[in-house]
């Protein structure tokens, strides 16, 4: 059929089964927005900033497992979106982001709202396109969805000049994709898998090291089975929280800079690391030369470039985690769970020696208490997003995650301002769950305009602000490594968060005691509108334990033991 470029965008989204998109209109993308107005198949959620549109699409994608879609205009619309693209790229989130561009005849003339968008997005997307002819659009959009969601997922950016969206051309979405140069390797080498199973059977202290790739590959339940069958303990990265349930006996919590003592010690003592979809990030490994020093390394990943990038793998397997884990399950008979009894005990002892804990207080609210409390009250019934900083680490440490895709946070890029818009996307994807965003008094201001989106769209995200009047994580580093010189981290001057929320039509609570917190949370859930719960927490609480940047995992700063009051 002969239709305009703008209509093609709509038709392609419909053909891809897209139900919700996020975006912000502007001059160069108006033809597309005109077609959005005319259609009724999918829902468009207007965010109040382009960055938020991308984060919302990320949250939507992470919660649903589908490709997130965002539409923005040229120039500043696009540059505002760059942080979101970079965030999605770092955390391997499948997105298709469509931006308007000035007409072809104006490209290169420094036209109004012109920027070399694909030049900018090249280094923070999996792939990008400048579409110079409407006839190319069906193929490009189909490719964009395929590339975003296959292999190691990631954001794909499609830049479309305004005149191309007006051009009429043939639209046929049934075209077969012919991507000779892009063929992700999804099936692990069976002989190599056999060797891995032998290596595991021969190991005395093997350890699963689970990463975000397990979630991307929808392999969490297969991994749960593999862990159970083999009796091998597992540590999770920040991105993998929820792969194993919090009450799984074999889960040794999170490892890394703010991982548990037991997880980091297990990693330091293991003789065989079995990495599944994890990328040996510096926040995980600490000092590389000391990381799992005496261990063999099995590394399963869909991205060959992740394997042996930082830690060289003795057993590299390129493949989709789900495929490989299913294959491992079939061969798991060679592994005898009893063999690791002593090893499990050793780890248990580590955990008893220095459990993940904090010193609760009867008078002041400890931030960790808030997270534990929400966990107790809501548990599985909530999806948890976070912003970036101390509250983020406490959420990862103390929330009782019970399923994959329950925890949505900015891991790789560490984007403050991610949490609220992401939670809006999460709520749009799974309205049946309560959407909680743990945030800080620093982070929440970085996208607080999204109150308007949440009110308008009736997406009742509950933002729990762990308010310590500090840029807490930076303050913690200043305390520990900068001799308490609190350079620009004191946030004592801040808005009235209750009024701020109310000004947009949301609801706000100011909380100073545990009782007040319970009441506020209950009320916010009942009222079912977007909420800010401003919780005054202990100002100088540190995230512990901690591996100082560049230190070895086995050399942690630990929670100070306190005498019982």
């Amino acid at each position: 059929m002969q239709i305009s470029g703008a209509q093609m965008v709509i038709e392609a989204l419909i053909a891809e089964g897209v139900e919700t998109i996020f975006g912000y209109p502007g001059g160069a993308i108006m033809n597309v927005y005109d077609e959005i107005y005319k259609q009724k198949t999918f829902k468009h959620i207007l965010t109040r900033h382009e960055q938020a549109a991308i984060h919302a699409a990320e949250g939507y994608s992470k919660a649903s497992g589908k490709v997130g879609v965002a539409i923005i205009t040229s120039g500043p619309g696009f540059t505002n979106a760059v942080t979101g693209l970079a965030d999605a790229y770092m955390d391997s989130i499948p997105l298709v982001v469509i931006s308007g561009q000035v007409p072809m005849s104006l490209i290169g003339t420094d036209a109004f709202q012109e920027i070399d968008a694909i030049g900018i997005s090249r280094s923070c997307t999996k792939h990008n396109y400048l579409v110079t002819n409407a006839a190319d659009l069906p193929g490009v959009l189909k490719e964009a969805f395929y590339i975003a969601s296959s292999g190691r997922p990631g954001p794909v950016h499609v830049d479309i000049p305004k005149d191309v969206t007006a051009q009429i051309a043939e639209f046929d979405y049934s075209i077969e994709l012919d991507l000779e140069t892009y063929k992700p390797h999804t099936k692990g080498n069976p002989r190599q898998i056999k060797k891995v199973m032998e290596a595991i059977a021969n190991a005395r202290r093997p350890l699963f090291y689970l990463g975000g790739g397990v979630i991307n590959s929808n392999a969490a339940y297969e991994v749960r089975e593999l862990v159970k069958k083999t009796g091998i303990p597992a540590v999770e990265t920040f991105m993998a929280r929820g792969v194993l349930s919090h009450d799984d006996e074999l889960l040794v919590s999170m490892l890394g800079m703010h991982g548990s003592y037991a997880a980091n010690m297990a990693m330091s003592e293991t003789d065989l690391v079995i990495a599944l979809g994890a990328r040996f990030d510096d926040r995980v490994t600490g000092k590389l030369s000391e990381f799992a020093k005496n261990a063999g390394v099995v590394h399963v990943d869909i991205d060959p470039a992740s394997i042996s990038k930082l830690v060289s793998a003795d057993y590299p397997i390129v493949g989709d985690i789900k495929n490989v884990v299913c294959e491992m399950l079939e061969q798991s008979i060679v592994i005898k769970a009893e063999k690791y009894e002593q090893w499990r005990k050793t780890i248990k002892n580590f955990d008893e020696l220095h459990p993940l804990a904090y010193h609760d207080d009867t008078e002041n609210i400890k931030p960790q208490w808030v997270i534990e409390r929400v966990g107790e009250l809501l548990g599985d019934s909530a999806n948890i997003s976070t912003d970036v900083g101390q509250h983020q680490m406490w959420s990862a440490q103390f929330y009782p995650f019970s399923r994959p895709r329950q925890f949505i946070s900015s891991g790789g890029l560490g984007t403050m301002g991610f949490g609220f818009p992401a939670a809006i996307g999460v709520k749009a994807a799974s309205p049946e769950k309560i959407s909680i965003n743990f945030t800080g008094d620093g982070s929440i201001l970085m996208n607080c305009q999204e109150l308007m989106t949440a009110v308008e769209q009736k997406l009742p995200v509950i933002n729990i602000i762990l308010n310590n009047n500090y840029l807490g994580m930076v303050r913690q580093w200043q305390t520990l490594f900068y001799d308490k010189r609190y350079s620009e981290t004191d946030l004592s001057i801040q808005p009235d968060f209750v009024k701020l929320s109310e000004a947009f039509g949301g609801i706000g609570y100011k909380v100073a005691t545990k009782e007040e917190f319970d009441i506020a949370l209950k009320d916010a859930i009942e009222k079912n509108i977007v909420a800010f719960i401003d919780v005054a927490v202990e100002r100088l609480e540190d995230v512990m334990p901690m591996v100082p940047s560049g230190g070895s995992l086995y050399n942690m700063m630990l929670l100070e033991k306190k005498e019982k009051k």
Binding site: I118, G119, R122, S123, K126, H127, L130, T132, I147, L179, E180, T181, Y182, D303, P304, A305, S308, K309, S312
Partner: protein
């Protein structure tokens, strides 16, 4: 372990499309890899181009470079050459007042010849292994070359 910063030659076959060269060079600059030389031209009768990149780095760095190149969507193949035939061309401009016979003899020894002569200058070309081109360029310094241009390497696996 081989020399930490050994010279390596990598050939990359890419779809000949807009901005594909930027993807490659952005990858090198973004990840802090070196490019010593880079040549690119379309492969006849195909939709592909071939790049020859001379770079340097440890075995691990080169492995990362080839993997990262592979990851780019328009990249079809990446060859990290071990046993290769490698050639480079250079053009050199001399004042006509220099000893043309000497220059001409030297050129001949390096697969070259005089390719242009005018009132004031002569231009010679040589085509040889990069190492030998390097030698040649050192040798001819005494004849006051006015301008030198090197093509960068092209290579084929044996």
């Amino acid at each position: 372990m081989q020399d930490e910063n050994a010279r390596r030659v990598i050939s990359v076959i890419v779809v000949n499309e807009a901005s594909v060269l930027s993807r490659i060079t952005d990858l090198f600059s973004g990840r802090g890899y070196n490019i010593t030389s880079l040549t690119v031209a379309p492969i006849p009768n195909s939709k592909y181009s071939r790049l020859t990149i001379v770079t340097s780095g440890s075995v691990r760095v080169i492995e990362q470079i080839t993997k990262q190149l592979h990851k780019l969507i328009p990249v079809l193949k990446v060859y990290e050459h071990a046993d290769l035939v490698e050639k480079e061309m250079a053009l050199i401009k001399f004042p006509v007042t220099e000893n043309i016979t000497d220059i001409s003899t030297l050129c001949a020894a390096y697969n070259g010849k005089i390719v242009n002569a005018s009132e004031n200058i002569i231009i010679v070309m040589v085509a040889d292994e990069p190492k030998r081109v390097e030698n040649f360029l050192n040798l001819i310094q005494r004849y006051n070359p006015k301008e030198i241009v090197r093509s960068g390497s092209v290579a084929l696996e044996r």
